[in-house]
Amino acid sequence: MSRRPRWPRLWRASVEDEVESELAFHLEMTTRELMEQGMSLTNARTEAERRFGDSAAINAECRRYGAERDRRAVRAEYLDELRQDATFAIRQLLRARGFTIVAVLTLALGIGATAAVFSALDAVALRPLPYANADRIVVVHPTRKGEPTDPSPPEYLGYQAVPAFDRVAAAVLQAGITLRLGDVPEMIGGGHVTADYFAVFGAHPLLGRTFTADEDSPGRANVAVISYRLWMSHFNGDRAAVGRTVEIDGTPHTILGVMPKAFDLTSGSEDIWTPIAFSSDDATKYGEHYLKVYARLRPGVTLEQARAATIPAERAVAERIPQHTLKLTEYGADVHRYRDDLVGAYQSLLLVLLGAVSFVLLIACGNVANLLLARASARTKELAIRAALGAGRGRIVRQLLTESLVLAVTGALAGLAVAYGLLRVILAVSPEDIPRLDQATIDWRVLAFTLGTGMVSAVFFGLLPAVRAARPQLQQTLREGGRGSLTRDRLRPVLVAAEVALAITLLVASGLLIRSAWKMQHVDPGFDPRGVLTARLFLPEAHYPTPATIINGFSAIRDEAARIPGVSSAALTSVVPLSGSSMQSSVEAEGRPIDDKSPQANLRFASSGYFATMRIPFIAGRDIATSDNAGAPGVMVINEALARMLWPESDPREAIGRNIAGVAPKNGPKYRSVVGVVANIHDGALSEKPAPEFYIPYTQTPELIWPLIQRSLVVVVRGPSTKGAAEALARPLGRAVARVDASLPLTEAKSLDQFMRASLATARMNTVLLSLLGGIALVLAMVGIYGVVSYFVNQHVHEIGVRLALGATPGLIWGFVMRRGLLPIIAGLAVGITLSLLTTSLIRQQLFGVTAHDPLTLGGVGSLLLVIAVLAMYVPARRAMRVPPIIALNES
């Protein structure tokens, strides 16, 4: 019954009254004592008050202490109860070991998976970039008729005058730099940047300094800054690296400084930076769009303001262009946040995963709620007795919630192990170029997130069962002898229906993405990647100053590569398909007026034998020949898509002999004649439609192109199509190159299969992770269905017994159980499919080859769930059929 402090606390609701009457009592007693000594009432009263002192001040002080006392008491009681509840909960959970293990494992799966995805999302997108004022760093680029393009040097200079920016830097990133420390030259990823580049990012060197604006000028630019990664790998972190002279691209450079570790954003980011050193000529190179421009917004300036301020600067530059091809209003510029540029695409990828994983967590919560409901039913008697003994409803809810909380925290701790494992999987299957993903770990942020998720889940799965269990139905419960009433069963089927609906939605989305990935993996790229190895070579200006020397150099390298044993053919190209890079040019068919839109096509410089090496079939005409040299008439090979774009009304084969203007040499003839038509290939991505493309003999590369592509071409060699054969050619290829020029470094040789794999990396990540999450969701849903049906059978053993005793066949009983079990599943299916139709539109952009409402996926997922549901119901339904009729006589 109620404990002793119960009524005093009620009384103490007013400290004021308490103090008032206590002090009044004192005055009254003193007055009475003084009157006994012979004083009159008035005198005694005055004397008593005088002896008492400043009663207002005393009263106030007493009230203050009294209020503090009550607050402390409430808090102490609360903490005491919490401790009691927790101890009690742990004891209860240890007693029901089977229940506890299932519930904790379920929660560990749900919470752990969520924590792992959160950890990845946190590392990639949520954590601020390691730069001062990272949200003020922006990327600026020109647009032509709204289409983005890279800035040219005059445009970079024009942006510097925009007042919205306080610093502007230009860079050529992802550049191949030849570094020679000892005897062997090496190809390093690097950047040529203006002096302000580091300041835009607010990055300070770890050691030494970055270069000054003075050093960023022609003739003085023999300085370099290196990355932390390069400092570690090539200088063992020796501080004496600063000040050392190394050979970069054939000329000696002094290392000025080392950037901090945080400046290495991805495994493929730059390792060395040298000044871009614009010359005065560069200020008028309007047509050379090869830069990246980064800027820092002035404090308080919005993106929109910056955009609005950049467009006039762009048009001011455009006005100076000697011959215009576009109207002035078609020149525009755009500004967006560097962060969005860096992680935007990956962020949506990870958000889809987080969505999927939160569905798994919700299903897990549904399962645990179901388990708790079943347990609460079994405990009705215990709870009814507690209520009868005076425990309030709130008190019982609190106690049951504490139990949920203990479960959730245990689940969250176990979930950390799941998170750790799943994070390994994510790291193993994700594309390599996701910035900062490798920094994802289980740190305190993830720990806090995990525990927080646990707490929230506890409320999710614990509140409803607790409130329900605490509903006072004393008489009924005690009368029924703790068997529980049938009306309470309604919540459980609803939970199962919700779980099924969630599982369906998740599985449909996963199914669509997996089917997209599968379709993408089975796209014919248009070339045969098996057995082909590629390596980009950069010829340094110091040894290859003219186009003729460059062409001779590559020609010799190709011939040497073709002689490697096992190599059936070798060729040269400027861009490898599916490598992520591309080069574009406008094209114009002779005799066709250009309308508004000058068509664009992908451009490649290639040698003879390129199509044979890649196994790209010819539709008509001939290959590029050795005789198509610099002195010969300009020729090109086009693909089917370009033929159809330029001459939609005629057969692509008829393109042979026609003339196209594109990449014309300075002061040379405008048109090149088409000598061959080849089949289409997937160049940018397997998921994209093949683009129009044309191929120009590398021997006819216009002179001004060579510096833009850094005097580089890719050697492609075809070996046997067996697995690993291409990779095995890497060393022989390196030796072949060295035989031509021992000072040339070979960039990392990559097989076409590797490029294919990288291009499919996102699809593969989707497949692996979503299969995993879908599988977990299925298992959890199955466990949930099993639990409910099994519980239903237990609760109805008596009724089933009676039915059997009255002559029902086991078949009828089977039907009875299945009907009851299937009802919520059918409802869940209907809701789930409706829900999927709504949610799949969110992932439409990531789908390939399937519609968001793909009937095959919807039907497949629906049937899969039905089969799983029937499997889950099989065991309890069989048990129901075997109920001995005698049970009808017992237990009544």
Binding site: S21, F25, F52, I58, C62, G66
Partner: protein, 109 residues
């Protein structure tokens, strides 16, 4: 707070706690007992005992309960707790140290 006031505080607390070691009492009884035992030497204002009582109750040295006084009136009775007894011992010890230190100066033999 100057040490003299602290000392006074501590002494008043100790005296009240001491009073309560003989059994539960209400505030008026405590005051009267103090007055009688010290032969009116402690000329504190009677009312100042009450804040001390509330403060000590807050700190858990004493507990209170409502009961009936000798004259049949409802009155609040205070009772010393274990924590209060420990506090009294500490306070007494401190007081003894104080007296030992001060007595030779003020009361030369």
């Amino acid at each position: 707070m100057p040490p003299s006031k602290d000392r006074l505080h501590g002494t008043l607390d100790a005296l009240v706690l001491k009073t309560l070691t003989f059994g539960p009492r209400h505030g008026y009884a405590i005051v009267r007992w103090l007055r009688e035992q010290t032969h009116d030497a402690l000329s504190v204002e009677e009312g100042s005992v009450y804040p001390a009582l509330y403060r000590m109750e807050r700190d858990g040295w004493i507990e209170s309960d409502w009961g009936t006084s000798e004259l049949g009136r409802k009155a609040k009775f205070y009772q010393i707790t274990d924590k209060g007894r420990r506090q009294l011992r500490a306070e007494t010890k401190e007081f003894a140290t104080f007296v030992q230190a001060v007595a030779p100066l003020l009361l030369p033999a």
